[in-house]
């Protein structure tokens, strides 16, 4: 049973027939891991903590730098030089003291990924490197953990949700990391805000088993033209991960 304060805090969720008290309890019992406490991870973490996700894991090895503050809204000027996981945990606890925040001030690698991902229900890829995105895709596939991919480039972003073994995965399309290193330009600060928020929504929809997930579709956001485009996807029979099924 929700207490009076919880009823008030989640009143707008409780008023939605798709959520209600039953759905809110599901959200409360869930465990979501956000890999990367930066541009994508900030909005995703804020909305998931505010929504009443009971356990939020955050993994990031970096410290807060001045150039992060243009878009990574979990971190404030006073947090410069602090671990991003510490800065994030502090804000999220202020927002919702009921949420349990588990911090991993480390880099997700093929060595530690399975151990860390194991206890979570849904993974949000909010990382800023291809190598990390591949680590997440590989580990989620091995553990059959659903995940949301998110990526940002200049004025655009892309996202897709993956149910490993059942829907097209990140590596069905992006088999290998690009050989050429991208020049770090951008992004426009609010672009990851849009994509990270979509990732949070997908996690909640997965927990609630409501609506249609962003599976077998890559959603591409072009902020300059202000357009969303959807690219239909299917499991690639030659995919390094999915072909084994």
């Amino acid at each position: 049973m929700l207490n009076i304060k919880e009823r008030a805090r989640y009143a707008r969720h409780l008023s939605l027939p798709e959520i209600g008290e039953k759905g809110q309890k599901k959200i409360w019992k869930s465990r979501i891991l956000i890999v990367g406490a930066g541009g994508l991870g900030s909005p995703a973490a804020y909305y998931l903590a505010a929504s009443g996700v009971g356990t939020l894991g955050l993994i990031d090895a970096d410290i807060v730098e001045l150039s992060n503050l243009q878009r990574q809204i979990l971190h404030f000027t006073g947090d410069l030089g602090h671990l991003k996981t510490e800065s994030a945990a502090q804000k999220l606890t202020m927002l919702n003291p009921g949420a349990r925040i588990i911090s991993y001030p480390a880099r997700l690698t093929s060595g530690n990924a399975r151990k860390i991902l194991h206890d979570f229900d849904f993974i949000i890829d909010a990382t800023d490197s291809f190598s990390s995105k591949l680590v997440i895709a590989n580990a989620c596939h091995a553990l059959k953990k659903p995940y949301s991919h998110g990526g940002i480039l200049r004025f655009s972003g892309q996202t897709m949700t993956v149910i490993p073994g059942k829907t097209a995965c990140y590596r069905c399309i992006f088999e290998l990391p690009p050989g050429d290193s991208q020049i770090a330009r951008g992004p426009l600060g609010a672009v990851p805000g849009v994509i990270g928020s979509i990732q949070a929504i997908e996690a909640l929809k997965y927990l609630l088993r409501k609506g249609s997930l962003l599976t077998n579709r890559l959603l591409i956001f072009n902020a300059l033209e202000m357009r969303f485009r959807e690219v239909p996807l299917k499991i690639n029979p030659a995919c390094r991960l999915c072909a084994r099924h």
Binding site: Q158, I173, E175, L176, Q182
Partner: protein, 66 residues
């Protein structure tokens, strides 16, 4: 010959290959993912792939930022 590239209609001469089209869109030869009618076509198969009327091509760039 009309095809759709990244959701937009394009006119192309007959006999155009997928590799040729990708080169037009990606002159700096960055790594991209290329889908033809929803199927991923690996780079080594793009030169032999002729385009036909009504084909849908997606040339997807890697968005690695977060």
């Amino acid at each position: 010959m009309n095809i759709l590239v990244n959701g937009e209609k394009r006119e192309n001469r007959k006999g155009k290959t997928l590799a040729g089209l990708v080169k037009n869109f990606n002159p700096s030869n960055k790594r991209v993912a290329v889908l033809l009618n929803d199927d991923l076509i690996p780079r080594d198969r793009q030169a032999a792939q002729l385009l036909k009327e009504g084909d849908r091509v997606e040339i997807l760039t890697f968005a690695g930022g977060g």
